[in-house]
Every structure is written in C-alpha cells, then in structure tokens.
C-alpha cells in the first residue's frame, strides 16, 4: 500500500459530490485515465447514494469513506451504520429496488459492478453496510 485515507461525513446528499471528487483526487498520483476517474466517481456516488437513501432512509447518520492506494489499484470502502440490506443477492439484481415509487432505477449495484473490477458487500440487519470496491488501473473492465 502506498497511501490511504479515511473521511467521515454526515449522510447528506450534498456530500455526494464531495465524496466522489475526494476519492478521484486521491487516485491522481496513479495517473488514471479520464474514464477510470469517471468510473470511480460514478461507483462512489452509487455507494454513497445507497447509504443515504437505503441505509439511513434520509435519517441522520455517518458515512465512512476509506480508500487504500496500491501500485496498480485503489480499494475503496463506503460504510454506513444504518438498517442493513435484507437480501444482498436480491439487492444486487439489475432493476431491483425497494423504492420504485421514487423512480429509483435499481441499477446502483449494477453500475458499481460494471464500472469497478471487484465489489464485495457486507451487511447486517440493524447494524449497517460496507461496500468495498477495487479498481485496477490500466486494465480493461471484464464486464463492459
């Protein structure tokens, strides 16, 4: 590991732009392509949105963003201490959403899976959720 960072923000949607820009800036020393930077920003935005909308359902809470930089990759984790995901496999299905009435697309996890190389979700009901994602630089995404 060549660098690491950790930031805690309240679960407010106005922090989404800050979080994705922060993680993107953290990766700059690896000279990522514009597409790689955009992929990371998009995936972080999806994870933070999930924490706000589903983890806390608009209630107060903290979101922890951690990132570790390696020679060829970045590992990013987004953690909330909200209600947790009942069924992770179901939640990760394309178009699955618990909130269709809000025009939620149900594509958040699909975007994370497509834009990043690895994704791991750990969740416990009533305790919260951690989404950990890895992006390798200079590599073509297997899923795109």
């Amino acid at each position: 590991m060549i660098n690491k960072m950790k930031v805690v923000v309240p679960a407010l949607s106005k922090n989404e732009g800050f979080c994705r820009s922060l993680v993107a800036a953290f990766c700059v020393e690896l000279s990522p392509t514009i597409e790689e930077v955009n992929d990371i920003k998009t995936a972080v935005s999806e994870a933070v949105t999930n924490a706000i909308v589903h983890g806390y359902e608009g209630q107060n809470g903290d979101i922890v963003i951690e990132a570790e930089l390696y020679n060829d990759s970045v590992k990013i984790s987004v953690t909330d201490f909200g209600q947790g995901i009942e069924n992770i496999d179901e939640a990760m299905q394309p178009f699955f959403t618990t909130k269709p009435e809000e025009e939620r697309s149900g594509m958040g996890f699909t975007v994370m899976q497509t834009f990043m190389n690895d994704i791991d979700v750990v969740s416990e009901k009533g305790k919260g959720t951690t989404v950990t994602m890895t992006k390798y630089f200079g590599r073509v995404n297997a899923r795109t």
Partner: protein, 102 residues
C-alpha cells in the same frame, strides 16, 4: 443544477447544467415535470452538454420523464451526452428505449 429551455418548432429544448445526482434529483424532476405540464410540444429534446456527471439516480430522472412523456403521446430525445453520462445510460439500458439525437 441550472435548467434553461426554449421552444423550437414543435420541440421543447431543455438544457441542463450541473451534476445530476441524488442531491438535485427531486428538484430536477419537478422542474422537468412543470415544463412538460405547462408547455405544448411534441417532443422534448434533453440537451446534456452541460451535465458533466450523472449516476443511476440521474438516469432514473431521465427514464421517469420518458415514461411520463410517452403516457402523454410525446417523445424524448437526448442530445450532447458526454462520455461519463453515456456509459451510465448504456449500462442501465436506457438506449434500448430512449433515442440519442446527434
């Protein structure tokens, strides 16, 4: 998010500027709905030249407007989609139903 618009022929051209994510989704949806409900036009052309970031929440706003317009017998076209937004739209399958206009 800033939204400008102009009526051109039978179309309503709408220009979005900013980053379309959760923080502006509701406001953007309401503004677009207002335009749809207020003006008479046959198709909405959504010009995204000024949108430098959009995630699946933003995609949901666009898809929702497509559905609303379709119910009214009107169309939706997308224009000036940048690479980041394009990848999100493609991943979400939006182009299966909404046309990109060049």
């Amino acid at each position: 998010m800033t939204i400008n618009f102009k009526l051109r022929g039978n179309n309503l051209e709408v220009f979005l500027f900013g980053e379309l994510d959760e923080s502006v989704a509701v406001k953007t949806r309401e503004t677009l709905n207002y335009l749809i409900d207020t003006y008479s036009f046959s198709a909405m052309v959504l010009d995204l030249k000024g949108v430098n970031f959009l995630d699946s929440t933003g995609m949901g706003v666009v898809l929702g407007r497509y559905k609303k317009l379709r119910r009214l017998g009107r169309g939706l076209f997308l224009r000036n989609v940048n690479a980041q937004v394009d990848k999100v739209f493609a991943t979400c399958g939006l182009y299966d139903i909404v046309e990109k206009q060049y």
